[in-house]
Amino acid sequence: MAEETKEQQPGIFEKGGKLGWLHSTVDAFDTFLRVPGTVTKSGSHVRDSIDLKRVMIIVVVALVPAALFGMWNVGYQHDLVFNDLGGFWSRFWFGFLKVLPLYLVSYIVGLGIEFMFAQIRGEEVNEGYLVTGMLIPLIVPVDVPLWTLAVAVAFAVIFGKEVFGGTGMNFLNPALLARAFLFFSYPSKMSGTETWIALRHGQTLDAATGATPLSYLADGSLSNLTDASTAYGTTPWDFFAGIIPGSVGETSVIAILIGAVILIWTGIASWKVMLSSVIGALFVGWIGTAAGVTDVPAWEQLLLGGFAFGTVFMATDPVTSAQTETGKWIYGFLVGALCIVVRLFNPGYAEGMMLAILLMNTFAPLIDHCVTSISISRRAKKARFA
């Protein structure tokens, strides 16, 4: 559509044209449909065929398994409690109808703001929100009220990103910022036992039914979990497969690993961050068991809560993670370590991944500063003795 309009009436949407104030929007749709015909003006005359649209679409593709599994799991969890669905497809359809509004709100609100700011700045629309918009519905409880989601998305995009100048300039992961906003502003909708299972109108849950495995472990004891008379899984295999309550896309480690393979194979996300985050988590988890703080084995911590999802999709965000290669090792390690520290030592929060990543986002520039400073002084020393 946009393509045709632009071709039939050249100039009208360009700067200074009649509808010039729409040029960023038209340009976004136009370049979405067809690769721009711009040629190189200065510097290298030939360029690699990769662009940010490709980078972002690969991340979106990597998120698809987690999203599809999440939709099915929403139906499955509902069915376990109420037994009113039955069959794979009706569970998936139930979950799909529950998750779809989250996606609509996330993309309409987020992209709307993104387009508006691009328009005001007179820049091209950045593709970054394609990923952010895909992430946000996967990291919230499925029954989050849509209006709070809309407010959170608007807050995250405006104050997490646009005030700094848009994608590439932000220092906090916008998707996590949206979650943190919900978490602190509407705590009753974001934690506890009543939010994790999708309900039909008029249905209610009793306290024991809706808890996540992680909340049973909050005081550090495995026996709570195994004693719980829950209808759903309590074994490590259940955590790994993801048939447990939780935020929409975070539960299945299998689906997340498929995404991780895509991201590492294409080189889009840093394997160094992922690996060091796992090492950090195992390290603190091991200390926890050795010191008798918890009897949850360290490896089991990797399967629970948002750890896997955060490690693969959130901590690796190239903009908000450390930029130097050495820095990525340190950053990843601290993300994993902090996440488990919060789980083990903070009685208030059952889960620590969101806080760990956001905290390390703020520290990433400091880590990079230290890494580059050390390298610079090493170079200077080398030169003095040369």
Partner: protein
Amino acid sequence: MSNSIVLKHGLDIPIKGEAALQISKTVVPDIVAVKPTDYKGLTPRLLIREGDKVLAGSPLLSSKESPDVLVTSPVSGVVKEVVRGAKRKLLEVRIQADAAQEYVDFGAKSAASLTADDVKSLLLKSGLWTAIVQRPYGIVADPAAKPKAIFVSAFNTAPLSADLDFVLGDRLEDIQAGVDALSKLTSGGVHVSINADKSSSTPFHKLERVVLHEFKGRHPAGNVGVQISHISPIMKGDTVWTVSLLLLAAIGKLLLTGKLDLSRKVAVTGPACKNPSYIQAFSGMSMKDIAEYCEGENVRIVSGDPLTGKAVGAEGFLGFFDNQVTLLKEGTEREVLGWAKPFRTNLFSSSRAYFSWLTPKSKYAMDTNLHGGPRAFVCSDVYGKVLPMDIFPLYLIKACLAKDIDKMEEFGIYEVLPEDLALCEFVDPSKNDIQAIIESGIDLMLKEMA
């Protein structure tokens, strides 16, 4: 003594149109141009007028900063036209060449008998002083400077670049004479880097009175800047000189024959080239003389390699430092949903986001399409993978953008020229003009440090 240095980072761009190792044409000089814009840091003062008769080696321009530095005519003939651009900036001095070439006689000399001052004055008079590039900043060398050492790269790794063994292998005597002359100008010696993969087959390992280094790796292993950073990094206060092997041969020839001879074998290359091969030509050759090599309409003619060359157009001329012409199709066609296609088999990407890594041997008919729109920097690890230097490219680029001189110094602005980061620009998914950014940083340093 030779030291072998292995460079892990880099990228050989598989572009079609490599020149076959044969001479397909000898270009006879007709209209020849000297371009002051080839010489960075030189503000030209015109010494001739239209209609003047010049010989090969006659001065055309001098430097306003350093009046001894001359730019001379590569051919004998009559000054036909002085071309100026915006704000009367001097762009070209065009010369109608004579049918029979006459040369200014600078007198044949033996390098061994010359003093440093003799070498200097000979190079200044003949115009070959401008062949010496001074780092930091890549400017025409300052005759008063005392360089730490002089560096020469004896192999090319840039895409489609001329094979120096083929082009200059038969001029070993000239090069040796050049080395002997230049070694008078520095106490640090003349450092020559050769390709480790061909260390015994390349003729240049026979050079004497040089410090020989071997480098192994993909592009930009052949860039002299990368080599310097591994041999002896340039720090604040250092000055080093570099000379291309091509012009080192010209310096040697000047000593041996007393004539300025800027003839050279030029590789005519690129996906839009009909018969990629070498031609016998000279500095300042008109691109009209090789019009028959262009295939199809809308071809960009680049003097130099596809990463760092200058687009000169069909009416343009070969640069003083170049022995390569690259012909590229202008990529103005728009591909429907290009970025979303799982496969784009006709396009190359160094990333695994596309599948060209599955066919490592295929060559691609690349055009000049940008393949995307300009964005802020997002990916942080793609740049270091193609830059085998001990610096943080993204930090240097951002320091240049921020015009922060302290940070530029810390992150290594003294060590780089735009050409060294050309591959960063090639792979950048955010499509920033990184070479232009580095250039602006260097210009700022030149202005502030002057």
